[in-house]
Symmetry: C2
Subunit: 419 residues, 2 copies
């Protein structure tokens, strides 16, 4: 009886699947987010997650803001109802002022509220990329952006700036050969995820000139821009372009901002700042995608921004600067000479390059099992299959003693690497 | 001087636009949401918005829930941080129980949390539709679903159930002739937006048989399912299919649920319930689209669901039943004999059909300017260009006296229609 029974297909094994759209083949899990699930063990020193330190979250202010917003009956009815797709006018007005402080003169019609900047990137991919079109991205680049763009089935080409033999025509021809055209360049110009590097002013001008030659927009991901620890702020690409073309509605730069790294990622509030004509199209995408971002979270975010944006940014700079300094000092003290790394002036990441024969995906397994240290192998941040000897280290979460200890352990492991 | 100056092109008129993806041409504003912006004048009786009555929002409970969630330091750090894409495990567990109460046996792996059911619909369109593929939709159907699907450049075909000369082969051939295949059927089986009608049990079985013949999934939009005022609940299509095929992972029905119509739309929390293999793919789309729904809102929603879901649903049923009764009574009392309407057993809408020569888009202008009454012209809910003599009336927002007065004024206008 048991035998007969075990041979019968159980209902649970008869899985039904629909025929998916062709684009479904390009939808892949983020290695990083999958990794994070495995690294919850408390004795591991994790340099893997690129997320803000919850010690900085202004919990009491958030709590007070929700109470305040809901204490007024009329306002409570409004923030618990459906709302307009473009976002809370008062929050957009605050962002207009914030953008002005970054050198970008704009109006409310230039701002769309999104669920974090990730949603902004996904909307832009959907608006701009047809299958086989080319997106120009850095090497390495932000993995979440690749995920956001990839369901539109694009081709990626590596953006070379500064000294390079890539001419505008070479990008154009390669895109045509692939069956599409170059549709945009995507960059994280300030303290990039994952490299920690900042695009210098001449690089910004080079990129604007390339974009003008190719007649493409630039997507400027400013996720980390507020988190500068040394040196002076560089003008956003959008500010430089506006200075050249005269107004935001004439500009080809699309700026993606977020409150996730400065106030909290938990409210899921970011924004896109771009020409009115582009924002008008993005509002349609927002409407079709989820109607509107939660009005209550927008109202709370506005109160936080009005009352403690500057204070939180100052706190975060002091907090993360010390952690970055600890990580750079430990790398200098313990890493073998064959290892190099970036010197980030801000953000959350240091990018480490090992000797070419060390594969960091294999190293991670030993790092977790033997050294109890985690990081993100760099390979996933490249669209061309390279970067197997690189890694991203985030200094945002561990305390300073753990940073030092973790880098020391990792250095030992690399020093004794069998390859 | 002034003349010379005025002839110079202003910077603001030199607009730059990128080359958009082909799909951008299909992204259009919702007539309804555009309409709503114009109807804020307080002396207009509006039957236009299909939104819940804010008088029902449990404001104090929401306020208390935010306070509670943020009062615990560990929990506060968690809900203000990034979170897992599939959603809060505890909220998913509550939804599993809720689905069980609807006859759907499932597990947490069958649930994805979305930003309202609108995001669920958009994800499903993206997962299933390639350009030129066919989506089967009712006539009339929910406009927001058409918006959600349309950026994938589908063709629509009208779903005929019950007595019809449309065979499965006729759907299949028409889809092939259009260059794709039938990818899914989309229905709002309970108290549909916009028609207010409910798919009877034999219609549900017909639809399941058709979907099996075409080997396609059914997207079951259950937005209004909890709001029944008369009669007995019908089993969801998903429950009927599971009863037939043995388990949810073998089922072809994809259920989109939401808390927007029962608790509040302001937290933007809905869900998709489907086979594990489909949910696994949808989690990737969620991750790429906006990483995760706000963890704080999920935690608050869970508390509301646990403490007052049943109470809120009971209140809403009593509240809206009285309004529906008032609208149906007024229609019977005042409308000319040439006008017919549906008898909704739940939901928020009555669907009205006027004589064929009355164009309701034109009528709306006179209704607003002369009668100070607003509604949504029915045309936009059809994919085949018909429905010009139909309208959607929502009874959710006006009070009972206004419902009676508004229908009376509208009836007068129709009675005296010059066409």
């Amino acid at each position: 009886m048991t035998d007969t029974f075990s041979k019968m297909p159980s209902a649970n094994t008869e899985l039904w699947e629909p025929r998916y759209a062709a684009r479904a083949a390009r939808m892949q899990a983020s290695e990083i987010r999958e990794l994070l699930k495995l690294l919850d063990q408390p004795d591991i020193i994790s340099f893997a997650g690129g997320i803000p330190d919850p010690a900085l979250f202004p919990v009491e202010a958030v709590s007070k803001a929700y109470l305040d917003v809901l204490s007024d009956k009329v306002q409570a009815s409004r923030v618990l109802q459906y709302s307009i797709s473009e976002g809370d006018p008062a929050l957009r007005a605050w962002i207009v002022d914030h953008m002005a402080s970054r050198g970008v003169a704009c109006a409310a019609g230039n701002i769309l509220i999104t669920n974090g900047s990730q949603q902004g990137l996904e909307f832009l991919g959907r608006l701009l990329l047809s299958p086989k079109d080319t997106a120009l991205v850095e090497a390495p680049t932000y993995l979440g952006a690749l995920q956001a763009f990839s369901s539109n089935e694009p081709r990626y080409d590596t953006l070379h700036l500064g000294q390079t033999n890539r001419t505008p025509d070479s990008y154009r021809r390669a895109a045509m050969d692939a069956g599409g055209e170059v549709k945009f360049a995507y960059v994280v110009p300030d303290f990039s995820n994952p490299s920690g590097e900042t695009l210098p002013l001449d690089g910004r001008h080079d990129l604007l000139a390339l974009a003008m030659d190719l007649d493409i927009p630039i997507i400027e991901d400013a996720a980390y821009a507020a988190l500068r620890y040394d040196g002076v702020d560089l003008a956003p690409l959008q500010a430089l372009d506006i200075a050249s073309v005269g107004s935001i509605n004439a500009s080809r730069v699309i700026y993606c901002g977020t409150f996730s790294k400065t106030l909290t990622p938990g409210l899921r509030i970011g924004w896109i700042c771009a020409s009115e004509q582009l924002i008008a199209r993005l509002i349609l995408i927002k409407q079709a995608s989820d109607l509107n971002s939660a009005a209550i979270n927008q109202a709370v975010l506005l109160r936080l921004a009005e009352t403690l944006y500057e204070e939180q940014v100052s706190k975060a700079r002091i907090h993360y600067r010390a952690k970055r300094d600890a990580m750079l000092a430990a790398l200098a003290a313990y890493m073998p000479d064959s290892v190099t790394w970036t010197q980030p002036e801000g953000g959350l990441f240091v990018w480490v390059t090992l000797p070419p024969d060390i594969n960091t995906s294999a190293l991670l397994k030993r790092a977790v099992s033997q050294a109890r240290v985690a990081f993100v192998p760099g390979h996933a941040f490249f669209t061309d299959g390279t970067g197997t000897n690189t890694m991203r280290l985030s200094f945002s979460l561990p305390d300073i003693a753990s940073i030092t200890q973790g880098v020391q352990r990792l250095s030992e492991l690399i020093r004794n690497d069998p390859t």
